[in-house]
Amino acid sequence: MDILLPVLVGFLFAAGLYLILHRHFFKLIIGMMLFGLATNMFLFVIGRLTRGNTAIIAGTDQVASEPFADPVPQALLLTAIVIGFGVQAFAIVLIKRVYQVFGTNDLDDLDKTDRIHEKYPDKASE
């Protein structure tokens, strides 16, 4: 597992970034999800993969008995998953709305805010 998980994390990062660079809306969403997953997995793996007990201290002991898994990365991971869930939910709704309004599935069609002379009428952003 110590070798396999880092390789998996790297693969997820690569796949996520590759899909984000795609022009297709759906692939953008999938890419963002994979990239978020990769980040979460990275947090999990970097906290060391310790097989053994939880860090719960038994009744009479002063410290947890070794070996125990570090609980901090898991707590971070939990928070990061929830935050990522919120951001991804927003991104999905946003992209659905963009698809409805623009009637296109291609990110390259959305280049008007980058251009100097060709622009939306001022009224549009009132």
Binding site: I20, L28, M32, F35, G36, T39, F42, L43, I46, G47, R48, V72, P73, L76, T79, A80, I83, G86, V87, F90, A91, L94, I95, R97, V98, V101, F102, L107, L110, K112, T113, D114, I116, H117, K119, Y120, D122, A124, S125, E126
Partner: protein, 506 residues
């Protein structure tokens, strides 16, 4: 000792936002709550600043969990200055939004979102825990996402897709960096990390690698060259009451974090990192100002100038002397006020003339001389004409640069100032000075009509601009208090033992 005053800048906007949510779609009540919240937030941050001014660094351990284990809130002079600046800008933008934003947008929760955004900004500035920093950044970002898309017009949707995607990536990079730091050093408390990093005997390469993740993540958030392309593509799309706050504050919060982390934590291998920042700051200035020179839209020119000004703030960090860091701090505070002020002015111009495009505007000086005068003050302050506020910031930075022999960067920064004047003159000529374009006679009639019917509204919109201009004049003409605060803040930043001792109660 516990200082509960530290919790107030977080709790006041949170409670305000929750109260606003109880009165969903009742704008009158939300406005009253908003006024009360903004005023008390301003009072609380001013009190926080005066406390940190007198008592030094304040800390609060949330839930009474002692320092390296629990989440600590820390306020030193730099963070309290940021909190005060955000509260001042918050008041101005709030007053502008009373009449400067369409009711349809206000009904979909503008006020609670603005308050939550202010909470996020204050949280980033006050936290002393690395992971907590990430969480506050997400609070801030998700409010920005919703605010930029609020109303769902075409340009906003297009801008927010770019904004959301790139900032999601930036946050992920930040999180990866935090994970690496925890994996190497086994702590998340910034004060303890500062001790561990300074004592580290090996792993220097890995720590520097982690710092690169922070540099990229925060570099995207604060729009440093070459990571700035999302900013001019999205910041001009939402209505002014939204973009003024975001443009004024959010990139500076990224830069605040960069300065905090690279003075407190990542001080290893500075001979590699600082020259990199030096080059990046010079290129940020130049590319931003050249981008602005090509634009023909009021808000887009201002957006590119945000990028250009970020270069100056980064320049202070890159030079890394007490004077330079103080210059950066002064410049950040000055720029928050000036940038918001200029965006609000563009909003007033739009409200009375119906366009942001320079070609369609003209003759504003004739109808609104007061607005034109205020634009001159803000624009000259941005360019750094003495005795206005931008001059003192640039003076401190240039002096610091000359002291360490960075002649190239100083020359770049000064020539960028001249180009800034060029852009501001362009706006002045096109919007305020040249004759009104003759193409549509109806616009003149419409304008006369607006002037009769909307006079109280227009006056109200002038109010926040006037407020910010007075603030700019104050920190420019009476610069001594802010300059000395900035100097002491930079002392605190560079002598990290003060911070460490305050947090770890040594």
């Amino acid at each position: 000792m516990q200082h509960l005053i530290l919790v107030l800048p977080l709790l006041i906007p949170l409670y305000g936002a929750i109260l606003c949510l109880f009165f969903w779609r009742k704008l009158g009540v939300q406005r009253v709550i908003g006024v009360a919240t903004q005023l008390s937030l301003c009072a609380a941050s001013a009190y926080l600043l005066s406390e940190t001014d007198q008592a030094g660094i304040l800390t609060t351990h949330i839930g009474n969990w002692e320092a390296p284990f629990g989440i600590t809130l820390v306020a030193d002079l730099f963070s309290s200055l940021m909190v005060v600046a955000s509260a001042v800008v918050g008041i101005a933008v709030f007053v502008f939004s009373l009449r400067g934003l369409s009711n349809a947008r206000l009904l979909y929760g503008y006020y609670p979102l603005l308050l939550l955004l202010q909470m996020g900004v204050n949280g980033v500035c006050l936290t002393g825990d690395l992971f907590n920093l990430y969480v506050w950044f997400e609070v801030l970002l998700i409010c920005c996402f919703v605010l930029i898309a609020l109303g769902g017009s075409k340009p906003q949707l297009e801008g927010s897709i770019k904004y959301v995607t790139i900032n999601f990536l930036a946050s992920s990079f930040l999180l990866i960096g935090i994970g690496m730091v925890y994996g190497i050093l086994g702590s998340l408390n910034m004060a303890e990390l500062a001790v561990l990093i300074r004592a580290a005997e090996d792993n220097h390469g890995l720590i520097t690698l982690a710092s690169v993740f922070f540099l990229i993540g925060l570099g995207i958030k604060s729009a440093i060259f070459p990571l700035f392309f999302w900013l001019p593509a999205s910041y001009h799309t939402p209505p002014i009451a939204i973009s003024a706050f975001i443009a004024g504050l959010i990139t500076k919060v990224g830069l605040y974090t960069l300065i905090r982390l690279f003075t407190l934590l990542f001080v290893l291998n500075q001979d590699i990192v600082l020259p990199l920042l030096l080059v990046a700051s010079g290129l940020t200035m130049v590319v931003g100002v050249l981008g602005a020179a090509a634009q023909v839209d009021f808000r887009k020119i201002l957006s590119f100038h945000i990028v250009s000004q970020i270069g100056y703030m980064l320049m202070g960090l890159a030079i890394f002397t007490p004077l330079a860091i103080a210059g950066s701090i002064y410049f950040i505070i000055h720029n928050i006020l000036v940038k918001t002020c200029l965006f609000l002015i563009s909003g007033v111009v739009y409200r009375t003339n119906g366009s942001f495009t320079l070609k369609n505007l003209g003759g504003v000086y004739l109808f609104q001389p007061l607005l034109a005068a205020m634009f001159v003050i803000a624009a000259f302050s941005l360019a750094g004409i003495p005795p206005l506020s931008g001059f003192w910031g640039k003076f401190m930075l240039a002096k610091a640069g000359l002291e360490v022999g960075q002649f190239g960067l100083v020359a770049t920064s000064l020539s960028v100032s001249i180009l800034t004047i060029f852009s501001m003159t362009k706006i002045w000529n096109e919007v305020f000075w040249k004759k009104r374009p003759r193409t549509d006679v109806t616009a003149d009639a419409a304008m006369a009509e607006i002037n009769v019917a909307d006079k109280p509204v227009i006056r109200l919109l002038h109010l926040p601009v006037l407020f910010l201009v007075l603030a700019i004049l104050f920190i420019g003409l009476y610069a001594e208090p802010l300059v000395s605060l900035a100097f002491r803040a930079s002392e605190q930043l560079l002598n990290s033992e003060i911070y460490i001792n305050a947090v770890l109660l040594k």
